[in-house]
C-alpha cells in the first residue's frame, strides 16, 4: 500500500529531471537518454557481418545497480539496422558461463537459424561463437532476444529495423525505436519460486474488506455477492498480471520513469515510433496524451493506417505508429502495465530537458464475466442453469430480440446478474475436446468463449478515447494465399493460477507432448481458446499468420497475437516453413512453466543444411 502511494505520488510529481547524459556509455547509440532519432550516421550494427558479444554488465536504474546479461555491453542491445534483400552473417560470441542463444523474433529464417535451443539448434555453449547466417526477406520492426532459460528478463533483448528494398509506403521525417521492457532486482528464478509458493505474491491490488466498505473506489466496485462468486471459484478477479510494479521497474529504451528517455522532434514533423514490447511478463497500454497515433504497421508488416489514442501491446508484439506533433512542447509517452500497478514513462520533446505532465495511474481493471469465458452466454437465463446443459443459452443470438437481451447482460458489466451463478460449473470437461487433459493444471474452462478481436483489452473498454482493437487492423496488401483453410486445429490455453501451472491443452511441454504437425504449405485454421483468466500473447516461430478479424482477404499478418481471457481467437496459416518451430506464450514465465509446444512442418524440402 505504502509502496503504491509512493509510486503514485512519484508519478503525479510529473516534472522529474532528465537524467544526466553522463550515463551515455551505458546505452547504445539509439537509446541515448536524449535521442534525436535514428539517423544514417548513427553507429548501429549494419552490413553483412555483424558481431555480437553476450556477457555480463552492470545495469543501473533508479539509482540501483545489478548484473544484467547484455549484448555488446549495453541494455537494450544494439539496434540491428538491416536491408531487405541482403544476406547477413551474425557472429555471436558467448562470454557467459552458461549456454545462451539469440532468437530473431519475427524474422523469416531457415529453421536451423531460428535460435531456440533444443528445437532449432543445440544452443551456444559458454566461450564459443556461433555463426547465424540467413537472407533478409522482409522489412519492418522486429527484435531479438535470448531463448535460453530466463536470460531475457536479465536484459538480453534488442531491436531490429529492416528497411524495405523498395520505397517505404509509410512517409516519415524522423523515427525513434521504443523498446518497452520490465526490470527487477530479484533474480528471475526467484520470480518463479515466489509465484509457485504464492500465486498472488506480486499482486498488491487485491480486493480488501476496507475496499468493500469504501464507496466509490473503482478498483473495489464489486458487490459482496460477486466477491463471493469469485471466491467460490477460488479465482481472484484482480489477478491481471502475475508480476507487477511491486518488483518491476518499467523501462523505455532501458530508462526507468525517473531517467525519462527523451526522443526529440521538430514541430510539424511526421515522427515514426517503432514500438517493441520486449518485456518478460508485462503487457502495456500505450498512449501519448495530447497526441493521436496512426498505426501503420503491426508485427513489422504494414497495415492500413488507423488513428487511435491508445493501444495495448502484448509481449513480443510490435507496432509502428506515426505521430505529428505540431506544438512546440513536450509530450509524455505512457506505457502503463496492464494491471496499472506502474508505468514506463518517456518524453517526446523539441528540446532536451523539456517535460510534460505525467498522468496518474488509472484504477486497476477487474475481471468480468466475459473474461471468465461466459461472453457468449445470455446471462438472463442463468437461474436454473445446471452443470451440464444450458437451457436458454442463446448460441446464435441471431434475432434482434435476443440480441437486446444479450446486450444488456454481456461483458460482465452487469454485475447484478452474476449472483445467480451459483451452481454453475466453471470447469465443465464436456466443453473441451478429449484432446484437452483436464487435470491438476486446469482450474477453469471457458463455458462460452467468444471472438474478442473487437475488444481493446482488459480495462480499456471505457477509457473515453479511441483504443486499437484487432478488428481495426487490415493488411495494406491483399493476403497472399487465397485458399480457404482445409482443417481446423483447436488449441486451448490452460492454466492453474494457484499452482502457477501453464499449458496448452492441459499439458506442460515437459510432460513429453507430441508436436503440432502441419504439412508443408498446408492451409490450416488454428483456433485458440483461452480457458484461463489471463491474457496470453501467443507466438508462432517461423511464420506469419492471418488473424481472422472479419476483413477477409485483408486479415492482418502477425507473428504474435494477444488472446484475451475467455476469447476464441482464430488465425489462418500457410505452413510454408519446413522444419521445427517453437510455439508458446510470450509471457516468459508462462512459457517456462510449460506453455510451450513444437510445431513441425514436413516434409523438409530444399533446406540445405
Amino acid at each position: 500500500m505504502h509502496h503504491l502511494i509512493e509510486r503514485r505520488a512519484l508519478l503525479r510529481g510529473g516534472a522529474i529531471g532528465v537524467a544526466g547524459l553522463g550515463l551515455s556509455g551505458l546505452f547504445p547509440a539509439w537509446a541515448q537518454s536524449g535521442s534525436a532519432g535514428l539517423a544514417p550516421a548513427m553507429p548501429t550494427l549494419s552490413g553483412d557481418d555483424i558481431r555480437l558479444t553476450i556477457g555480463q554488465s552492470d545495469f543501473t536504474v533508479g539509482g540501483r545497480s545489478a548484473h544484467a546479461i547484455t549484448m555488446n555491453g549495453v541494455l537494450p542491445a544494439p539496434l540491428l539496422r538491416l536491408k531487405e534483400g541482403q544476406n547477413v552473417r551474425l557472429h555471436v560470441q558467448n562470454t557467459l558461463d552458461e549456454d545462451t542463444s539469440i532468437h530473431w523474433h519475427g524474422l523469416i529464417v531457415p529453421f536451423q537459424m531460428d535460435g531456440v535451443p533444443g528445437v532449432s539448434f543445440p544452443g551456444i555453449k559458454p566461450k564459443t561463437t556461433f555463426l547465424y547466417e540467413f537472407p533478409i526477406r522482409q522489412s519492418g520492426t522486429y527484435w531479438y532476444h535470448s531463448h535460453s532459460g530466463l536470460q531475457e528478463q536479465l536484459g538480453h533483448y534488442g531491436p531490429i529495423v529492416i528497411d524495405p528494398a523498395d520505397a517505404d509506403p509509410v512517409a516519415y521525417d524522423r523515427e525513434h525505436v521504443i523498446v518497452l521492457s520490465d526490470w527487477t532486482f530479484l533474480h528471475p528464478h526467484q520470480l518463479v519460486v515466489k509465484l509457485k509458493q504464492e500465486g498472488g505474491y506480486f499482486n498488491r491490488q487485491k480486493q480488501t474488506l476496507a475496499g468493500l466498505l469504501r464507496k466509490g473506489d473503482p478498483e473495489e466496485a464489486m458487490s459482496l455477492a460477486d466477491r463471493l462468486m469469485w471466491g467460490k471459484m477460488r479465482m481472484d478477479p484482480t489477478d491481471i498480471a502475475d508480476v507487477t510494479a511491486s518488483t518491476y521497474t518499467y523501462l523505455i529504451n532501458g530508462h526507468g520513469p525517473k531517467e525519462n528517455w527523451t526522443g526529440l522532434f521538430r514541430p510539424g514533423e511526421r515522427v515514426r515510433l517503432r514500438f517493441i514490447n520486449a518485456a518478460t511478463m508485462t503487457i502495456f497500454n500505450i498512449r501519448i496524451p495530447g497526441l493521436p497515433m496512426t498505426v501503420v504497421s503491426a508485427d513489422g508488416l504494414n497495415v492500413r493506417p488507423v488513428t487511435i489514442d491508445e493501444f495495448q501491446i502484448g509481449n513480443a508484439e510490435t507496432y509502428d505508429v506515426i505521430v505529428e506533433p505540431t506544438e512546440d512542447r513536450a509530450f509524455t509517452l505512457v506505457a502503463e502495465s496492464i494491471d496499472r500497478s506502474g508505468m514506463g514513462r518517456a518524453t517526446l520533446a523539441p528540446r532536451l530537458g523539456m517535460t510534460a505532465a505525467v498522468p496518474p495511474l488509472r484504477p486497476r481493471p477487474t475481471l468480468t464475466m466475459k473474461d471468465m469465458g461466459m461472453g457468449g452466454m445470455d446471462h438472463g437465463s442463468m437461474p436454473g442453469m445446471d452443470q451440464n446443459s444450458m437451457p436458454g443459452m442463446d448460441h446464435s443470438a441471431h434475432s434482434a430480440a435476443t440480441a437486446a437481451g444479450a446486450a444488456a447482460s454481456m461483458g460482465g458489466m452487469d454485475h447484478g446478474s452474476s449472483g445467480s451463478m451459483a451452481g454453475m460449473n466453471m470447469r465443465d470437461k464436456s466443453k473441451v475436446p478429449p484432446t484437452v487433459k483436464v487435470g491438476v493444471g486446469v482450474d477453469s474452462i471457458a463455458m462460452a468463449p467468444v471472438d474478442r478481436t473487437g475488444d481493446p483489452g482488459l480495462g480499456l473498454e471505457d477509457v473515453g478515447h479511441r483504443v486499437l482493437t484487432y478488428r481495426d487492423l487490415m493488411s495494406l496488401t491483399p493476403n497472399p494465399d487465397k485458399r480457404p483453410p482445409t482443417r481446423t486445429v483447436e488449441v486451448h490455453l490452460t492454466g492453474n493460477m494457484e499452482r502457477f501451472m501453464w499449458s496448452f491443452d492441459g499439458e506442460k511441454f515437459s510432460e513429453g507432448v507430441e508436436p503440432i504437425r502441419f504439412e508443408l504449405n498446408e492451409r490450416v485454421r488454428v483456433v485458440l481458446i483461452n480457458d484461463s483468466m489471463m491474457t496470453h500473447p501467443i507466438h508462432l516461430h517461423g511464420h506469419f499468420f492471418e488473424v481472422v478479424n472479419g476483413h477477409t482477404g485483408s486479415h492482418p499478418l502477425k507473428h504474435t497475437v494477444n488472446v484475451l481471457p475467455g476469447a476464441k481467437l482464430t488465425f489462418d496459416l500457410t505452413a510454408d516453413a519446413p522444419g521445427d518451430w517453437a510455439f508458446h506464450c510470450h509471457l516468459l514465465l508462462h512459457m517456462h512453466a510449460g506453455m510451450f509446444r513444437v510445431v513441425t512442418v514436413r516434409p523438409l524440402q530444399g533446406e540445405a543444411a
Binding site: 500500500m1 529453421f111 533444443g118 528445437v119 512517409a171 505474491y201 487485491k206 474488506l209 471466491g231 477460488r234 492500413r304 488507423v306 488513428t307 461472453g375 457468449g376 448460441h395 446464435s396 443470438a397 441471431h398 435476443t402 440480441a403 437486446a404 444479450a406 446486450a407 444488456a408 454481456m410 461483458g411 466443453k431 473441451v432 475436446p433 491438476v440 486446469v442 471472438d451 473487437g454 475488444d455 481493446p456 483504443v467 478488428r471 481495426d472 480457404p484 483453410p485 482445409t486 482443417r487 481446423t488 501451472m501 511441454f509 515437459s510 504439412e519 508443408l520 498446408e522 485454421r525 481458446i529 481472422v548 477477409t552 482477404g553 522444419g579 521445427d580 510449460g594 514436413r602 523438409l604
Partner: protein, 397 residues
C-alpha cells in the same frame, strides 16, 4: 497513396474523440435502443443481405466519414479485395437445415444447439457488428468470413521426414542433450517452500508458553516431499507436544493434495509413530484446509482437521481466523486422549505483512478439551478450557 490516406485520417484528429466500441455513446442514427454493452454485441438482425456488410458497401471516403472519426476513413481509396464469395454461414440457422451433430472437438459439444452448424463458426454465440450500427472499431465490412473447416488429424505427409529436423544439421547427440534441457525448462520446475505459520508466545492466566507450527515442501507441481511439525511447550519445561510428519504429497486436482506418510511424536511420552493419510488444499471461498487420519503403532486411530482463512483488511493487514479439531476413535489414556471429539482450538490472529514473507501478529486462542480427554486433562492439571493471548510472527521463504 498512403500519404494521402494518412492525411485523410488526420482530418479526423479535429473531430471529438469518439468511443471506439459500440455501446459508447453511439452516435449513428442506426443504433438500436440498447443499453451500453461490450463490442461484439449484436445490434442488427442477421437477415441483412450478405452484401450489405461487405466492404463493397463502404461509404465513399470524405468529410462525412471523418465526422465520425472512423479510423478507416479513406481506406476505400485503397482498392480493397472483393469479399470472398462465401455464403453467409448464418444462412439457414433459422431454418435448421444445418446438420446438428457435434464433433467432439466442438467447444459447444454437449450444448443443446439444434441449429448450429457442424463446424464451430467463430461467431457462434455472438453476433457480429454490422456496418449500420457498429460505430466503433470494426471497419464497415467486418463480415463472417470463412466458416471453420472440420477438426482433422494432420495429413500423412505431415508425418513424413525426420522426427527432429535439427538433428541432420547439428547431430543427434548435441540435439538430444539440448532437447532434454528444453523439456525441463518448459514446465519441469522443482521448487520449495518453508512456512512458519505460527511462531508465538502464549500468555494465559496459568503458565505461559510457546507454540510452533511449521511446514515445508520440496518438489514439482504434482509430487512433493512435505514436512510438518508442531511443538507446544510451557516456558522452561520440556515440550508437552512435539511431532514431525514426513509426507508424500500428490496433487489430486487444481487445489487439493493427497498426503500420506509417517508421523513421529517425540512428546508426549511415551513417544510413538503413526501412519498418516490426509487431504490438504484450498477449498471454495479460499479456505485453507487440512484433514488427516493417524494410525499409531499401537493401533490407535486419531484424526485432526484444520482450517484457516485470510481476510485481507488492507493489502498488508490480514485477519486470520483459524480452527483445529482433534478426534479419537478410542481412549488413549497414556497420552491423555479420550475417544470422540477430544480437543478444539479456535484462534483469531491479526498480522501485518511488513513484506509478504514476514508478518508479526497478535491474537487470541481458545482451547477446550471434551469428554474423556477433558477428564484426563482435569486429572493432570485441572484446566479443561482456557483463553490465551498470543503474539508472534508468521514467516516463509
Amino acid at each position: 497513396m498512403t500519404r494521402t490516406l494518412i492525411l485523410l485520417t488526420a482530418t479526423a484528429f479535429a473531430a471529438p474523440a469518439l468511443a471506439q466500441h459500440s455501446g459508447h455513446a453511439p452516435s449513428t442514427p442506426a443504433t438500436t435502443k440498447e443499453k451500453p454493452a461490450d463490442p461484439g454485441v449484436p445490434t442488427a438482425p442477421h437477415g441483412a443481405p450478405a452484401g450489405a456488410t461487405g466492404s463493397s458497401a463502404q461509404s465513399p471516403a470524405g468529410p462525412a466519414m471523418s465526422e465520425q472519426a472512423d479510423p478507416h476513413a479513406g481506406h476505400d481509396m485503397q482498392a480493397s479485395p472483393p469479399a470472398s464469395p462465401i455464403a453467409d454461414p448464418h444462412a439457414g440457422h433459422q431454418t435448421g437445415t444445418q446438420p446438428s451433430s457435434q464433433p467432439a472437438s466442438d467447444p459447444h459439444a454437449g450444448h443443446d444447439m439444434p441449429d448450429m452448424p457442424t463446424q464451430t463458426d467463430p461467431h457462434a454465440g455472438h453476433a457480429m457488428p454490422s456496418s449500420e450500427a457498429d460505430t466503433g472499431s470494426a471497419a464497415p465490412g467486418h463480415e463472417p468470413g470463412v466458416p471453420d473447416p472440420p477438426v482433422e488429424p494432420p495429413p500423412a505427409a505431415a508425418l513424413s521426414g525426420p522426427r527432429n529436423a535439427a538433428d541432420a544439421v547439428y547431430g543427434p547427440e548435441a540435439m538430444a542433450d539440448a532437447r532434454e534441457i528444453a523439456r525441463r525448462e518448459h514446465g519441469d520446475i522443482i521448487t520449495y517452500n518453508v512456512l512458519i505459520d505460527q511462531l508465538e508466545a502464549r500468555v494465559t492466566n496459568a503458565r505461559d508458553g510457546y507454540f510452533i507450527n511449521a511446514q515445508g515442501w520440496y518438489g514439482g507441481d504434482i509430487d512433493r516431499l512435505w514436512v510438518k511439525t508442531e511443538i507446544e511447550s510451557d516456558f522452561g519445561r520440556k515440550p508437552e507436544q512435539a511431532e514431525v510428519q514426513l509426507l508424500w504429497s500428490h496433487a489430486l486436482d487444481p487445489w487439493f493434495n493427497l498426503q500420506t506418510g509417517v508421523r513421529y511424536d517425540f512428546e508426549p511420552s511415551p513417544s510413538r509413530a503413526h501412519l498418516v493419510a490426509g487431504i490438504q488444499g484450498l477449498a471454495p471461498y479460499w479456505f485453507e484446509v487440512d484433514g488427516a487420519f493417524f494410525l499409531s503403532e499401537k493401533g490407535d486411530v486419531t484424526a485432526r482437521f484444520e482450517a484457516e482463512y485470510d481476510q485481507r483488511i488492507t493489502q498488508r493487514l490480514i485477519l486470520q481466523p483459524r480452527a483445529e479439531i482433534d478426534f479419537a476413535l478410542q481412549d488413549v489414556p497414556e497420552i491423555g486422549v479420550g475417544s470422540g471429539l477430544s480437543k478444539a482450538e479456535i484462534g483469531l490472529r491479526l498480522r501485518y505483512e511488513l513484506v509478504r514473507e514476514f508478518a508479526p501478529y497478535i491474537g487470541i486462542e481458545y482451547n477446550e478439551t471434551f469428554g474423556d480427554t477433558a477428564k484426563f486433562e482435569r486429572a493432570e492439571n485441572g484446566d479443561v478450557s482456557h483463553f490465551s493471548f498470543v503474539f508472534g510472527v508468521r514467516a516463509w521463504f
